[in-house]
């Protein structure tokens, strides 16, 4: 798509005065920033691993698979994440769901954390907000197999983050998008909309 003319912002070279042409004031100004703006201000580095960094809630770390209110995996095995994934690190096997309120669920869900580039596309693609990237950033393992996170492991990440109270926040709209919420009122049997 070509850039539209009205989207192009033209920036002009600022007009320099005599003082600016001397460069010296600018250098002094720069030095002021260097010294007083940064060098003498407190450092923001954290002494990892003695001190654990507190990641901002929108940090993209280890994935988790969310559970719904009944503790079942929220994922509906739609493959949107694995389709969106630029690193092809998500492998899903879908199956008819054992629960009546949905048609499909992931029989297996394997995410290769080594292959993942933590871009967050899976999270964006998920229509039911089942996969999220948490603030967990310490990810180690001794073998490749260990880094292939399966469904149980990803669900356990969810449990852990819920326990720790470090739920990720993804959008300005709130914790989760509207699509992920099941209809609140219980469907009346026989009425339109009642689930089979």
């Amino acid at each position: 798509m070509p850039i539209k003319t009205e989207d192009v912002k033209w920036i002009e070279t600022p007009k320099l005065g005599v003082l600016d042409h001397l460069y010296l004031p600018a250098i002094l100004e720069g030095l002021k920033t260097t010294v007083f703006g940064h060098m003498l201000t407190p450092n923001i580095t954290v002494q990892y691993p003695e001190v654990q960094a507190k990641m901002p809630p929108n940090y993209r770390g280890v994935h988790r698979l969310n559970r719904d209110e009944e503790g079942r995996v929220k994922c509906v095995a739609c493959y949107m994440c694995s389709t969106a994934c630029p690193a092809h690190c998500i492998d899903i096997v879908a199956a008819p769901s054992p629960w009546p309120d949905r048609e499909k669920y992931p029989e297996t869900f394997v995410l290769d954390e080594l292959r993942c580039i933590y871009c967050g596309m899976c999270e964006e693609a998920c229509p039911v907000d089942a996969i999220e990237l948490t603030t967990l950033h310490v990810l180690t393992g001794l073998s490749r197999e260990e880094m292939m996170f399966d469904k149980e492991k990803l669900l356990s990440v969810f449990d852990q983050t819920v326990k720790d109270g470090t739920d990720p926040i993804r959008t300005s709209a709130g914790r989760l998008g509207p699509a992920s919420e099941q209809p609140k009122q219980a469907p009346v049997p026989g009425q339109p909309g009642a689930q089979p």
Binding site: C78, K104, P192
Partner: protein, 548 residues
Amino acid sequence: MATVHVNGQAVDIGTEKLNLIEAADRGGVFIPHYCWHPALTVVASCRMCLVEVGDTQPDGSVKMQPRVVPACQTPAKDGTVVVTNSERAKYAQAQTLESLLINHPLDCPVCDKAGECQLQDYTHKFGRAESRMIDEKFAPPNKPNIGAQIELFTDRCIMCTRCVRFTREISGTAELLVNHRGEHAEIDIFPGQPCDNKLAGNVVDLCPVGALCSKDFLYKQRVWYLKSHDSVCADCSTGCSVHVDENKDILYRLRPRENPLAQGHFMCDEGRFGFHYVNSKERILRPQLRRDGKLIPATWEDVLPALRRDIAQAVKQDGSAVVAVLSPFLTCEEGYLLARYFKSLSGEVRLALGPVPTVGEDDTYPKDRHGKPVEPVKFTIRAEKCPNRRGVEEVLRHFQGEVIGFDDVVRLSGEGRLKAVYAAAGYPPRPGGWVSAEQAAALAKTPLLVVQDILPSPASALAKYVVPAVSFAEKEGTFVNHAGLAQGLRRAVKPPAECHTDGQVFLDLMERRGLVHAPTIRAELARDVPFFAPLASGTIDALGVMLK
């Protein structure tokens, strides 16, 4: 000669009777449609193909009709003017799409059709970005057992009634019907009479949305991962043109490919669901040879020279006691290569046609309510359950004038009169198998029995050499159907790692260098065998070539 003006562009449609959808298509303009299907009657009920239509008056002016009309129902006449891109036509189409989505659940993520769904595609192309409906959608329960192979996701149905018309007009079995009225209308079956006719799988293809899904394919793959290859169904001598859909060399489904020369628009369920042996774990994956009474896996480097040596020895002893059995599942090219190999060893070597599986009578559709066939016949499932008997027979006739039957081979072998039998089988697993235990025992009396097959059989258990064969989806070549239509097979999936295609094995036996290349062999075949002369260029287009 009739000329139709499609969006201001003159399209010559000749003398054909076309409706406006077809006529516009000739002009490269696509008119969206759901209920219309070229093989079914016109009901003009989906109202997706609404266009503006006018007629050219004798004085040359154009008189447009005051309302939009369905293109599927309007015949194209000389001077008809079709406008598909006017504000009114576009509004009508967008309005129809918005209506369709009133009660259609937006469960595309879990819908198997997503990616090849016409509702999705048209909404994207012709529809509104957003529905203005905020009320609750009507969601009737799914009908998982509408057929043995079919599941109905009732709420996704858009009532195009293609499936209903299919069961009434093509299969004639009329299992499907519309129940209820208005927005509560749904597709249903009569109680206890599921849609289980032999053509039932076609309703899944006909369904423009994800309402009717094939249980065989359900949730196996998302369609956008699939790569489609043009090929030919190998299950009967109708030779239906098919799309072979695979991902990462696993075959997931077959779909009929429209071919007026072969079968039309549809295919039968036997062929549609009969491909699973290709992915079977039981397959013969590498060559084996018998040593100390046991079959042991071997490499091609070991097997091929040994095979060549043993066959040459047998031919030297008595050429007429060597028989090559060519199964009707071989492509013409493979049959030709094998025949040439054996005939080059000695003119006395005999070539036989492998068993031709035949089940009952030709099964024609539509049927009446008693299950009796009705004229005119719209679809035929052939009794002859192999794709290429004609092609292989023509090759055999060319090389030795007559076709020896498999039973003769078994008899001769049982009498101990044969020195070597090379059975190029490649049969899919079907009830009974291609060779019974007795026949296998008789064949085993021949000292050098070579069996080339996809799956183990009684014969392969007793063979001296077992050579893996590959399925129709894994090789290239030509099948000639019952009517003499030569169609090209395209390779869809890679054969298992250590399997060589049959043609490659024959090429290696002939000690011809290089990889097997179907067009080259086909051209050779066409040069040598007059029956195949129309294939002289080596290439076959998607519809195939009729051989006389």
